[in-house]
C-alpha cells in the first residue's frame, strides 16, 4: 500500500515540476551546505588529528614556546639545547628521549630548486628507534639510513609518487642540499602525516654539519616509562625544564604536550566551528521546511476536489493524511538527496582544488555513510513534519464540500 502512496506522490510531484523543484530548492541548498561543510570539516579534522595520532599516546613532545602547530625551528625565541634534552632524560618516568631537528632547506634536483623539510634521525640507537616508532616510518623502496652515514638521505613518499620535481625521485638519485650532493638511499611509505610525505630524513650529525647547527634542537620526543601517566610525566618534565632554564611557572618559554591534549584541543575547536556552520545551514533547512508547508497547503486547496473524489471512492482519513505526508516527505527526501549530490560534488571540487592547485591535504571532503543517510533522513523528517498540518487539513475535509469545489 505504501508503494501506491509513493507512486501517487511521485505523479503529483512530477505533474507540478517547476513548483516542486522550487519547493525543494530550500532543502537542496540547506543539505548541500550541511554536507559540504561537515565533510570538509571532517576532512580537516582527520588530516590534523592524523598528524597527532602517529605520535602514540605514551609520548610527549617538548618544543620551544611559540612553535605551535607550525614547523618548529628558527622562529622560536629561545631554543632548546642538548642540555635540555639531557635534563629531560633524567626526569623520573622518562624512558627515552630523542632530540630532533626539523628545518627547511633548499633542495636541488637536476637544476630545479625547491624548499623542503629536513628532519634529523638521532645517531644513537634508542633515539633512532623512538623517532622511527613515533613517526611510524617504514621503507617502501631502498633502505633505511645507517647510523653515521653522511651523504645519504631517505625521502618521503611524495617525492617518489607526486612529481615534486620534474620527474619522480628514485633510490640512487642524487639530490643537492645547500650545495652538498646526497644520495637517496630509500623512500618512505606513504604516511597519514602530511609533513612526513614531503620531508627528507638525514642523520643528525650530517644535518648539523650541513646546516651549521650548534647544540640547539627543535623538538624533543619523550617516551614515557611503561605504566607511567603521560600527564604526570609531562608535569615533571616541565618542572625540570623550568629549573634548568630558570623560568617561573606560567612564563615558560617551552611547551610540553601530550598527544591526547593536542588532539582534544584541535577537536574541540573544530567541533565548535562545525556546530556554528551547521547551525547556519540549519536555518536554510527550516526555511526549506516552511516552503514545503506552504506548497502543501496550496496543494490541499488546489486538490480539494481530488480529495473529495478519493474519499467518495473509499479513501479513509488516514489514507488522505498519508498521501499528503508521503508527498511532502518525498519532496524533502528528494531535495535532500539532490543536496547531498551537490554538497558532495562541491566538497570533492574543493578537495581537487586543494590538492592540485594549493598542494594541501587539509582541504579534503570526508563524506561518511552516516552523513549521507543522516542527511536524507533529516530532510525526509523536515518534509514530513512540514506536511503534517496541511495533510491533516486535507484528511478532515468533508467529501461533499470538497467535491463541490
Amino acid at each position: 500500500m505504501f508503494r501506491d502512496y509513493l507512486l501517487l506522490a511521485v505523479q503529483s510531484i512530477r505533474h507540478r515540476k517547476v513548483r516542486s523543484w522550487l519547493t525543494m530548492l530550500g532543502i537542496v541548498i540547506g543539505i548541500a551546505a550541511v554536507v559540504s561543510l561537515i565533510s570538509l570539516g571532517e576532512g580537516l579534522r582527520q588530516a590534523i588529528t592524523g598528524q597527532f595520532a602517529t605520535l602514540g599516546t605514551d609520548r610527549l613532545i617538548v618544543q620551544p614556546a611559540g612553535a605551535g602547530f607550525g614547523p618548529p625551528g628558527s622562529t622560536a625565541v629561545k631554543k632548546l639545547t642538548e642540555k635540555d634534552a639531557r635534563e629531560i632524560s633524567r626526569v623520573n618516568g622518562v624512558d627515552r628521549v630523542a632530540a630532533r631537528l626539523l628545518r627547511v632547506a633548499p633542495v636541488e634536483f637536476r637544476d630545479e630548486q625547491q624548499f623542503f623539510f629536513l628532519a634529523s634521525l638521532p645517531e644513537d640507537e634508542h633515539g633512532r628507534k623512538l623517532v622511527i616508532d613515533t613517526l611510524q616510518i617504514a621503507i617502501a623502496a631502498g633502505r633505511m639510513l645507517k647510523p653515521g652515514e653522511k651523504n645519504k638521505v631517505v625521502v618521503g613518499d611524495s617525492f617518489a609518487s607526486r612529481q615534486l620535481f620534474a620527474r619522480n625521485i628514485r633510490t640512487g638519485d642524487i639530490l643537492s642540499i645547500l650545495g652538498r650532493d646526497v644520495e637517496v638511499a630509500g623512500v618512505m611509505e606513504k604516511q597519514g602525516n602530511i609533513v612526513g610525505n614531503e620531508a627528507i630524513l638525514m642523520n643528525e650529525d650530517a644535518m648539523k654539519s650541513l646546516l651549521s647547527i650548534g647544540d640547539e634542537i627543535d623538538m624533543v620526543a619523550v617516551q614515557v616509562v611503561p605504566g607511567a601517566l603521560p600527564e604526570r610525566v609531562a608535569d615533571a618534565v616541565a618542572r625540570a625544564l623550568r629549573r634548568s632554564r630558570n623560568v617561573e611557572e606560567g612564563k615558560e618559554d617551552f611547551t610540553v604536550q601530550t598527544p591526547l591534549e593536542a588532539i582534544s584541543t584541535v577537536n574541540s575547536i573544530l567541533t565548535v566551528v562545525q556546530a556554528v556552520v551547521v547551525g547556519i545551514a540549519a536555518i536554510s533547512l527550516v526555511v526549506g521546511g516552511i516552503g514545503i508547508m506552504n506548497t502543501m497547503y496550496t496543494a490541499v486547496l488546489e486538490r480539494k476536489r481530488e480529495i473529495g473524489i478519493m474519499k467518495a471512492v473509499g479513501a479513509r482519513n488516514r489514507h488522505i493524511l498519508l498521501l499528503f505526508v508521503v508527498e511532502s516527505g518525498l519532496l524533502g527526501a528528494v531535495g535532500g538527496g539532490t543536496g547531498i549530490l551537490l554538497g558532495a560534488g562541491f566538497g570533492k571540487a574543493v578537495t581537487l582544488v586543494g590538492s592540485s592547485l594549493l598542494g594541501t591535504d587539509l582541504l579534503r571532503a570526508e563524506i561518511s555513510l552516516g552523513l549521507v543517510v543522516g542527511s536524507v533522513l533529516f530532510s525526509f523528517v523536515v518534509g514530513t513534519l512540514s506536511g503534517l498540518l496541511p495533510a491533516r487539513q486535507a484528511a478532515l475535509l468533508n467529501p461533499v464540500e470538497a467535491m463541490r469545489e
Partner: protein
C-alpha cells in the same frame, strides 16, 4: 419482496448558510431493494444532490435513519463511512470526477488500493473492467486525452472496481451529447440486466429516467410520486 439494500427513514437534512437555515430534505423516506434500477427525478432545488449524498453515505442526516443492509449508518464517523462507500457503493458523477494526474488504468485501480487489494489483482481487474467498457486500448491515457464519453466509461469501470452492491449515478449523462449519453445508459441497463447490479440514478431528464424500473419524484425534499415502469 426482495431485501432492502438501502432504506431511508424520515430523513431530514438542514444546512446552515450564514444565518439562513436551508431544509434540503424534509422527511425523505425511500426503500431500494437488491437488484432494482431506481431513478430519482426532480427539478433543481428539490433535494436531489442531498439525497445522493445520503444514499451514497457521503453525508449523514440531521434527523432520521439511514439503513444499509439493515445497519444504521446515520451516526458513523467519516472514516467508517468511507470504508462502507469503498466496499459497497460505486459512484458515477455528472462531471466524471477522474483524477487528472492518473491514467485511465490507475483511476480504475484507485478504489481497490483503498481496500488493500494486491497490486497484481488490482491491475488485472482494472484491465478487465476497461476492456468491458470498451476502453482496452486507452488504458494508459490520462483523462485529458479522452473524450467525455470515454471519461464517463472510465468512471463506470472505476465504479465497478470493488464489485459494489450499488451503483449510484448522479446525472450520468448530464455532460454528454445524446448519442454518447444513450451509450452510457445502454451500458448501465445491460449491467443491471446481466449482472443484477442495483442502480440508483439521479436525473432531471425524463427521457433518461425511462431506463429505470421505478421513478421516484422528488420535490421539496421528499418523495411526492412513484412510477413503476415495468
Amino acid at each position: 419482496m426482495q431485501d432492502a439494500i438501502i432504506k431511508l427513514e424520515d430523513v431530514w437534512k438542514v444546512y446552515h448558510m450564514g444565518r439562513v437555515e436551508v431544509q434540503a430534505l424534509r422527511g425523505l423516506s425511500l426503500v431500494i431493494r437488491k437488484g432494482e434500477f431506481v431513478a430519482i427525478m426532480g427539478p433543481s432545488g428539490s433535494g436531489k444532490s442531498t439525497s445522493v449524498n445520503m444514499v451514497g453515505c457521503l453525508d449523514v442526516p440531521s434527523r432520521g435513519r439511514i439503513l444499509l443492509d439493515g445497519k444504521d449508518i446515520s451516526h458513523l464517523s467519516e472514516s467508517a463511512l468511507a470504508q462502507i462507500r469503498g466496499k459497497k457503493i460505486g459512484f458515477i458523477f455528472q462531471q466524471f470526477n477522474l483524477i487528472g494526474t492518473l491514467t485511465a488504468l490507475e483511476n480504475v485501480m484507485l478504489p481497490m488500493a483503498f481496500q488493500d487489494t494486491s497490486l497484481s489483482e488490482r491491475k488485472q481487474r482494472a484491465m478487465e473492467l476497461l476492456a468491458l467498457v470498451g476502453l482496452g486500448d486507452r488504458m494508459h491515457h490520462k483523462p485529458s486525452e479522452l473524450s467525455g464519453g470515454q471519461q464517463q466509461r472510465v468512471a463506470i469501470a472505476r465504479a465497478l472496481a470493488n464489485e459494489p452492491e450499488v451503483i449510484l449515478a448522479d446525472e450520468p449523462t448530464g455532460n454528454l451529447d445524446s448519442q454518447t449519453g444513450k451509450m452510457v445508459m445502454d451500458f448501465l441497463r445491460k449491467l443491471h440486466k446481466e449482472q443484477g447490479t442495483t442502480i440508483i440514478m439521479v436525473t432531471h431528464d425524463a427521457y433518461v429516467a425511462r431506463h429505470a424500473d421505478r421513478i421516484e419524484h422528488l420535490r421539496d425534499g421528499r418523495i411526492v410520486k412513484t412510477d413503476h415502469q415495468r
